[in-house]
């Protein structure tokens, strides 16, 4: 009797584990990854892909090599991927910070005044859809320096989402918060700093998150033309015609992108206070 009961308990435990959505998703993920890698490995060995396609095992070996040897330096064309990553991150950090320092205050200013919003919105709307790379020749011409141009491109690229989101957030602060402020007789400044900015903070952070995503997209493209960083690493490996390292770089760019995005996802959660889940 007891044995039977134990079996039932064990069975239900197993079922529960499989019932869990996350467990099932993880299993499906691992399964699909396994099939993908197997297909890749087999296909590359049987040469059914284009010529020179590396095998999965070679690519993973290279990935392991780069992850375990991130920092070495044998001249500008032979640097560990860690250095290149740091160079890219540094450019993004400077350009992005500059953009945020411009975009947030400007967005608040534009958002507070309806007239300013209507008057300046056409500029933002016009410039927002322009690919940041279109500014590259202009940057090189103005600054005559690839490093500064890289930062300039990141700044231009990441200014618009933050600016428009901040302006939108500030312009659409719940009128009941403003009414509270008014009935208490709060000064304009107090209202701006204690009510309008905190109320718009979720929108501001969303803007910053989109801007960060765009910066990270753009830096890789820009660096192909600039001479160092992850983008240049890819370009360099293309010149060497060594595909495994290109795939490794793509993977690392993706991972760093996830980390950057999650930082902002956490910040968004921090300021949401029960609004949106």
């Amino acid at each position: 009797m007891t044995v039977v009961r134990e079996n039932i308990v064990e069975n239900s435990k197993e079922n529960k584990l499989l019932d869990n959505e996350n467990v099932r998703a993880l299993l499906l993920f691992l399964l699909s990854l396994g099939i993908f890698l197997a297909f890749w490995e087999l296909g590359a060995n049987l040469k059914i892909f284009s010529k020179g396609m590396p095998t999965a095992s070679l690519t993973l070996k290279e990935l392991w090599y780069w992850v375990t040897h991130p920092f070495y330096k044998n001249g500008p064309n032979d640097m560990g991927i860690g250095w290149n990553l740091l160079i890219s991150l540094r450019r993004v950090a400077i350009g992005y910070t500059l953009a945020s320092l411009i975009a947030v205050p400007l967005g608040i200013l534009v958002g507070i005044s309806k007239v300013a919003f209507k008057a300046f919105n056409p500029y933002f709307q016009l410039l927002k859809p322009v690919s940041p790379l279109a500014w590259l020749p202009l940057g090189l011409y103005i600054f005559r320096d690839s490093e500064v141009t890289g930062i300039f491109i990141i700044t231009i690229a990441s200014i618009w989402p933050t600016l428009t989101n901040t302006a939108f957030g500030v312009a659409n602060v719940d009128s009941s918060y403003l009414n509270v402020s008014k009935t208490l007789g709060a000064s304009r400044w107090r209202t701006i700093f204690k009510v309008i900015i905190p109320a718009a903070l979720p929108n501001i952070i969303s803007g910053l998150r989109i801007s960060m995503g765009i910066s990270w997209l753009v830096i890789v493209a820009a660096e192909m033309l600039l001479g160092s960083g992850l983008g240049y690493f890819i370009w360099n490996e293309w010149n060497n015609l060594y595909i495994p390292n290109i795939l490794v770089a793509i993977f690392i760019i993706g991972i760093v992108g996830i980390v950057l995005d999650q930082i902002f996802a956490y910040l968004e959660k921090l300021v949401s206070f029960g609004k949106q889940s």
Partner: protein
């Protein structure tokens, strides 16, 4: 007699000294969309007169309720008294002074609570106290905040954010915030409109208890006949909009302090209730009839 008609336009002269709030010929017109562009896009609309020629005197330490069919301009009238909206015609006098902008002499309780979601219960009240008494020593500010949290029975919830509270608790914070600035007049715009019946009852009892302690002049907008009868000294009944007017003013004679059971067993209770029901029924029917007519 406990009923009187407000159509008389003469101001009651013998009680002038006791009058705290005086509304003189208040009207409010919301301008329509005009101009050739709106006409071209068929978005043109005519002016909308929400309220017309409202005259009302409210004495010190009186609890007044305003009741009327939906869309009759009750909230507009309260916004004008609060200074959040300006009257198109007429003026609001408080203690003989014309007021046309908001000020901390009037504390406001909002229907949607209007608490800042990023501030804790304590911070929401602190924001009000610091705004109104910027020069007060911090110790005294803290004491006021603590007293008002205690007054509405939220001791222990100081560090909670509004989204962690129930609707009733949120409105308690709203009431504490309005009272913490020690206003002369308390304005409440359907303060319990978004609450379930039971919570509503609790908060009505709270308001009655707090009002007996402080006896501040209060103006409350409500849809509930029972609520108005429980809390008010006078009930202003408005006609339907557009161009809503004061139709009738009821004096509520129940002795204070009140509680639900003694009020309901008062000999005048059913008569007053019936009078209000008839009024609301008539006006609401008129609203519906106006909707059907082209």
């Amino acid at each position: 007699m406990s009923t009187s008609f407000s159509n008389r336009s003469t101001v009651n002269t013998d009680s002038v000294s006791d009058t705290q709030i005086s509304l003189r010929h208040i009207s409010k017109i919301f301008p329509g969309r005009k101009g050739w562009l709106n006409k071209l896009t068929r978005q043109a609309s005519s002016d909308f007169m929400a309220i017309e020629d409202i005259n009302l005197d409210i004495e010190h330490n009186t609890f007044v309720s305003i009741i009327g069919p939906s869309g009759c301009g009750k909230s507009t009238l309260l916004d004008i008294i609060a200074g959040l909206s300006t009257a198109t015609g007429g003026e609001v006098l408080i203690n003989g002074q014309v007021v046309d902008k908001p000020g901390p002499d009037r504390g406001m309780v909002f229907q949607n609570y209007a608490l800042m979601p990023w501030m804790t219960v304590l911070d929401n009240i602190k924001f009000a106290v610091e705004t109104v008494f910027p020069k007060m020593p911090a110790k005294q500010q803290q004491r006021i905040i603590k007293e008002n949290i205690q007054l509405v029975g939220l001791t222990g919830a100081e560090k909670k954010h509004p989204h962690e509270l129930s609707g009733g608790m949120r409105q308690r914070v709203g009431i504490a915030r309005a009272l913490a600035i020690n206003p002369q007049i308390l304005l409440m715009d359907e303060p319990f409109g978004a609450l379930d019946a039971l919570t509503r009852g609790f908060l009505q009892d709270e308001i009655e208890r707090i009002w007996e302690q402080q006896r501040k002049t209060a103006i409350m907008i409500t849809h509930s006949i029972e609520e108005a009868l429980l809390l008010s000294d006078r009930i202003i009944m408005m006609t339907k909009g557009p161009a809503a007017r004061i139709d009738q003013i009821l004096e509520v004679p129940f002795p204070r302090p009140r509680d639900r059971t003694t009020v309901e067993s008062h000999p005048d209770y059913l008569r007053l209730k019936k009078e209000m029901e008839d009024h609301l029924y008539r006006e609401t029917r008129a609203v519906e009839a106006a909707r059907i007519k082209p």
